[in-house]
Symmetry: C2
Subunit: 468 residues, 2 copies
């Protein structure tokens, strides 16, 4: 039996080898050597960690449209020049500015206790202190069934559950419905304010902020506040013990008119096809609560460092590598839409796009959406990345990150290097998003993966885009 099995295995291997050897690798030996050298260099480089340290320390929090975000753009442009990018441009755009202001929220019945809350992006201020009884909703589905006017004079509280921890971040889309659309129903019900369980997987007392969705192109006209998981647990326990709940809150968050933001665009110009662009990047803005280390100082550091390592090669890759530090991502992908619009005429030359915007834990998977003939190239890239612990995922995953959405929608091919996001939603959009949460070795693994794959994609002869 063993003999037979071995023989069968040998035959299978033979077939497999034949099949493998039938298709010549789309990566040359020189390219492979260069990619492997980039990995080695990246793993031993402190560049990425220095970049995220500098951004979080010297700029700090940088809300889309703020003066701090402007400082971040200047920081980014200076960095690009220092690191040897061939062209560095700041491309400005206009945007409405939402400011958090001061918030106070406390339990007043069954007894007085301060709660830990944060206004959600786009929320209106309270006209004065709101003191009201609470109507409890077990989840967002329960709130959507509220009758018009039923919540008059009340505060709606939408519970839910702490986000499930998952490597892929699955569960975020579902959990953040209470953050996204809750206000429409609370407002329709006539509530004076909406309070929701924060969208996060942690049990810390910091609630997670984040943008709400517009409805009919309008923002909420009431205060909308997330409270931390432990505080939401607390309200749930009191509700279940039949205690009458009441809250007092005052929020100053509001829209403050039109301001400027911008994207920092930095090119390593291609040696043979300079007009063809492989776009990588992260978003430069952060929420105002933390210093935006994980979201998305990491992405800025990973992609900038990867490109800077490629820029040090004796010869530029064939295509242009463009790092975009997107502005105002958190507040509605405003930099991404501005970029897509400002480069509309040239989108056909964007042969690939990807963004790093899921923290700095190790990358474990490479997914793609390039033309079928180019998929073999991504397969081969995955083999080169495999010593980094990265596996090949699906070849039909559209979109390379939040800021790539407008480009992907226009048909730009994408890849995505997926970080392990198991702890991401412990930190995401909280004051805890600070530099100490980044592991320099994991960050270096990210940069190694980006440097090798982006180099190969920029230097290949293969047409990534054409579907023929």
């Amino acid at each position: 039996m063993l003999q037979l099995k071995a023989a069968t295995f040998g035959v299978l291997m033979g077939v497999l080898s034949a099949s493998l050897s039938a298709a010549p690798s789309p990566i040359t030996d020189t390219q492979k050597d260069t990619a492997e050298q980039l990995i080695e260099t990246a793993l031993n480089s402190k560049l990425g960690y220095d970049i995220v340290t500098s951004l979080t320390t010297e700029v700090g929090p940088r809300l889309g449209g703020s003066e701090a975000e402007k400082r971040a753009r200047d920081w980014g442009a200076d960095l690009g020049k220092e690191l040897g990018f061939d062209k560095v441009t700041i491309e400005e755009f206009s945007m409405p500015f939402w400011d958090r202001g001061h918030l106070h929220i406390a339990l007043t019945s069954p007894y007085q206790q301060e709660l830990y809350g944060t206004a959600l992006g786009g929320a209106a201020p309270s006209k004065s202190e709101v003191n009201a009884d609470v109507v409890y909703f077990r989840d967002i589905h329960a709130l959507t069934e509220v009758k018009d006017g039923e919540l008059q004079g009340k505060i709606a509280f939408v519970d839910g559950d702490a986000m499930v921890k998952s490597q892929t971040g699955a569960g975020y889309g579902q959990a953040n419905q209470r953050r996204r659309i809750g206000w429409q129903h609370a407002q329709r019900g006539g509530a004076s304010a909406l309070v929701v369980r924060s969208v996060g997987s942690d049990s810390h007392r910091f609630p997670h902020t984040g943008m709400m969705s517009k409805n009919d192109d309008k923002w909420a006209e009431i205060p909308v506040i997330a409270i931390s998981n432990p505080d939401a647990d607390h309200l749930r326990r009191l509700y279940r013990a039949d205690k009458p709940l009441a809250l007092s809150l005052h929020s100053e968050s509001k829209w403050k008119g039109e301001v400027n933001s911008g994207n920092v665009v930095m090119d390593i110009v291609g040696s043979e096809k300079p007009e063809e662009i492989v776009l990588i990047g992260g978003h430069l803005d952060s929420w105002d609560l933390g210093t935006g280390a994980v979201d998305d100082g990491a992405g800025i550091a990973i992609t900038t460092a990867a490109a800077a390592l490629i820029a040090k090669l004796p010869t530029r890759p064939k295509r242009t590598i463009r790092v975009v530090m997107f502005g105002a991502e958190e507040v509605g992908l405003l930099g991404a839409f501005a970029y897509a619009k400002q480069h509309e005429a040239n989108l056909a030359n964007h042969v690939l796009a990807t963004e790093s915007d899921f923290g700095a834990q190790t990358i474990w998977q490479l997914v793609s959406n390039v033309n079928p003939e180019a998929t073999i190239l991504v397969d081969e890239i995955a083999k080169i990345l495999s010593p980094l612990g990265i596996i090949r995922g699906a070849a039909d995953v559209v979109g390379g990150g939040p800021d790539i959405i407008p480009l992907a929608a226009k048909g730009v091919p994408t890849i995505r290097l997926n970080q392990n996001g198991r702890d991401y939603f412990d930190l995401h959009h909280t004051p805890d998003d600070t530099l100490d949460k980044i592991n320099p070795d994991e960050l270096a693994q990210n940069i190694a993966a980006y440097a090798a794959s982006i180099y190969l994609l920029a230097d290949t002869e293969i047409d990534l885009k054409s579907t023929k």
Copy 2:
């Protein structure tokens, strides 16, 4: 060689067995059976978790001297009666009340950024907004060397390091020197305020509060504020990058005069020696930031549940078991000193005392300080606890917990069941000290250990106290 070793080992074992069997066990078979039944019952009981859930949910934060602490005392007394304690008394005492009020602290140079700070207990308010340059001190030792008046018009910042994580909590005493005595030197130097790195082992953005020490019976006359570890890291990085640091702060914390606090004293009266008291307990007050689940709702739950399980035995143990829910521990062991004073005439009848005030992770060690003749009993108790993963520690460890200090100083024998405190200083004195941080199974292990050991100590014929 192997043969010889085995033979030697056998001889040694023989000697050891002979020596063990020579001393009769101080624990009867019936006592042992009862202790083991108590362990079994405790491990399968939800009582302790229900108690800490009720305290943190229905009372919440309960600062020493506050109206909430008064509610906690009523809650405790009601609980004691409900659980079948034979006597339940609230023993009031008077104390000065310190109130936190509102705090605002922000970095203003090299750029504007909100910091996460908390006033330290006993601190004075700022007269108005303080805006000043920062003088950086690497640690408390550096600050103690400041010359009188040298800090005029400045804010002193004392850095240091995040607390080392350790099972025993070693490192707290050293780290909290900056919290305890820093103000004396900052004030002597003429500083407008003192800011210190929070005393905690975590990297969360919540600073840890805690009481300062008096100096010459006086409290600080300046604001004293702890900032979170990530914020302290941030200031350190900016300082090392030669950025001029300036802060803006305003704190309302202040002393508000004399109020009442109290201890809840609950007895299970002994069947043969009711006048002899085995005292166990925890502290009922908490800091105002969290809901005091780990510090020290856990201790209240563990000791009350352990005693309540013993109260259900068919016969009361020989000695009285007294549970004391101490008041106002956090603000200077005020309940402990009040108890020692109010029971001064009767302290000789306190044959043993211990407190649970180190969270609710598993107990791993039993230490003691009883009379030498009774040490063998504690050794035997440790054997009965060993299936719970508990080992016997030293027999010369004076003090059974913070609130036991005044009793131990008067010669009351003590034991201590040491919890694993590795994560304790991630939560201690922060808003994150909430119910979700308690693992019900670990809490049950604590209760099992307390129930068995306290029962055996209360029922033994051995004199725990007399040194003869």
